[in-house]
């Protein structure tokens, strides 16, 4: 298929009007029609119903539209990057992170795209997965990284990036702190600090507490709050393995690794990707995320995000 054919089709899809689409593409209507027909031939079916006044996408048209939009945006990203740079008008990249996703995950991708997008400005937002989906749809953020998430609207693209397990994190003075692993019975008899809007609450409930609820202690929606409370000896927290930990905490695997989740990348379909977003999505979908959880079960070394010295 050819770029211009795809452009013609996308123009028809957005205007649902051949005359306006032809104007938009700066071509004659017969040329536009011919291009769309050629594309239909290649894609193996009609993309657009043309009935009297009514122009509508066919099922095939609807099926291929988001993909073609993305492909075209991707093909044009390099040219737009140069234009942005010339205009000194680089679109900011706003990334939403669920509370269980550490900013440490996006540092390397940001450094990578900053090499190619001069003037890059990144803004990080934190929010529960549902909230991030709303922010995406409102255009307040461009991409989001979340854990397990239910009911992602069809308008949002959703790529699985990697899978990780949950581990127990506690103070070194905790009575379970010297165990090689922590089993179900141990957890039932200890106080768990409650993570508000936890991605894997249902899984934990099913794995560990099918009959009676856990003994929940203090509560927060912020990982760092939970870490400080765990360090103070208030209880045990379950954290995704990539999450950087306070150096005063100990990490112990859960017996049999019963709780794991996928970390996913979300972006809105059909919205024109900025060059920075295009690069971010591409890097994220190729990156070897296993470097974030290198030594399963081994407590992490010092952690830059949360113990950074004031500057």
């Amino acid at each position: 298929m050819e770029l211009h054919q795809v452009r013609y089709f996308l123009a028809v899809a957005s205007t649902l009007n051949f005359t306006r689409a032809a104007e938009q593409c700066n071509v004659t209507q017969p040329a536009l029609t011919k291009g769309v027909q050629k594309l239909e031939q290649e894609l193996g079916g009609q993309l657009i119903y043309r009935e009297r006044q009514l122009t509508q996408l066919t099922d095939l048209g609807k099926e291929v539209l988001p993909m073609l939009e993305r492909t075209l945006a991707s093909a044009e990203a390099v040219r737009r990057r140069a234009q942005e740079f010339q205009r000194k008008d680089v679109a900011p990249l706003k990334i939403g992170l669920a509370p269980s996703i550490s900013a440490s995950l996006v540092l390397d991708p940001i450094a990578e795209i900053a090499k190619f997008v001069p003037g890059l400005h990144v803004e990080l937002r934190e929010g529960a997965a549902k909230k991030l989906v709303d922010l995406l749809l409102e255009g307040e953020i461009n991409a989001a990284m979340v854990g397990d998430v239910q009911d992602v609207p069809a308008r949002i693209d959703d790529w699985s990036l990697f899978e990780e397990r949950y581990v127990a994190v506690l103070a070194p003075t905790h009575r379970l702190a010297n165990r090689p692993s922590i089993g179900i019975d141990d957890l039932r008899e200890t106080i768990l600090l409650e993570r508000a809007d936890c991605d894997v609450a249902v899984k934990i409930q099913q794995s560990y507490f099918p009959d009676e609820p856990p003994q929940l202690g203090h509560r927060s929606g912020h990982d760092i709050h939970l870490q400080y409370m765990a360090a103070a000896g208030f209880g045990v927290i379950l954290v995704p393995e990539h999450m950087p930990r306070l150096p005063t905490l100990k990490t112990i695997p859960l017996e049999g690794d019963p709780v794991s989740r996928e970390v996913r990348l979300l972006a809105v379909q059909g919205r024109r990707y900025s060059p920075a977003l295009d690069a971010f999505v591409k890097v994220a979908r190729l990156r070897d995320w296993s470097v974030e959880v290198p030594d399963r079960g081994v407590p992490h070394a010092a952690v830059p995000e949360v113990v950074r010295a004031p500057t």
Partner: protein, 263 residues
């Protein structure tokens, strides 16, 4: 059909490769890709033949290769991540000499892996004439890493995430339903591999792009079993190295560049 296939394979003069005993993994290097192709075709099942004939026939009927960029065209610039998630821009890749850019279908395709091994074996020679080699796959996630590890490749494997580069080079097509059914049956889920609900593939193609971003050679072949021999690319690069001091412009198109019927 069989006669056509054979003649297509024989279009290229077999060029004897320098024997390379550096790696036992790459024991194929004394064979031309045309010969490996013949061997791979003997392993085709009846279903493979049917699917192969259908896809190649369909690609020729719809003349998909006619969109492909040709010698003299400007090569579209791109910014793609490699298998490790590092970005590479086309400007960078061709800054110091010609860029050999080869589109392949994926790590699941034996003709592609044969080609990649042959390119790997020729990599030092490419570099010795000042050329940079990059191969482009539609696969994402850890598939390119697995491929590199599995074949012991030390090549720049770029991932054409969302197919934008294959589309801008005009070598992209939507996998027809019959082909999709065949590959699904073989256990290949391009949706998962590409991260895309719509299954697309590139026509295998090898481009040589000069430092100014102009296409100097284009090998585009709808018959996915036929690839450009590294020795042939190398001959082109050497020829270019000789003529570039005189201002270039004397490059010839390689056979198959138009993607038309071979014979």
């Amino acid at each position: 059909m069989t006669a056509t296939r054979t003649s297509a394979a024989n279009r290229f003069q077999p060029i004897d490769h320098q024997p390379d005993d550096s790696s036992p993994m790459l024991s194929q290097t004394d064979k031309t890709l045309a010969r490996i192709r013949t061997e791979l075709l003997t392993m085709f099942s009846a279903a493979d033949w049917e699917s192969y004939n259908h896809l190649v026939g369909w690609l020729r009927d719809t003349d998909v290769a006619s969109h492909a960029l040709k010698v003299g065209d400007d090569a579209p610039d791109f910014l793609l991540p490699d298998a490790e998630g590092r970005l590479h821009s086309s400007e960078q890749l061709r800054r110091n000499g010609p860029l050999v850019l080869s589109f392949f279908r994926g790590g699941w395709c034996p003709f592609c892996t044969a080609e990649l091994r042959a390119l790997q074996a020729a990599k030092d020679e490419f570099e010795s004439v000042g050329a940079t080699l990059a191969v482009v796959t539609p696969e994402t996630r850890d598939f390119p890493r697995q491929l590199k590890r599995g074949l012991g490749l030390d090549l720049k494997v770029l991932s054409d995430v969302d197919y934008g580069v294959a589309m801008s080079y005009g070598v992209l097509f939507r996998v027809p339903d019959e082909t999709r059914a065949h590959y699904s049956g073989r256990g290949f889920d391009f949706g998962a591999r590409h991260g895309s609900p719509v299954w697309m593939l590139p026509i295998p193609a090898t481009y040589v792009i000069d430092a100014e971003g102009r296409i100097r050679s284009a090998f585009v072949e709808p018959d996915f079993t036929i690839r450009e021999e590294p020795a042939q690319i190398l001959a082109l690069l050497r020829q270019a190295a000789c003529t570039s001091s005189e201002g270039g412009g004397s490059w010839k198109a390689t056979p198959g560049q138009s993607g038309n019927e071979p014979v």
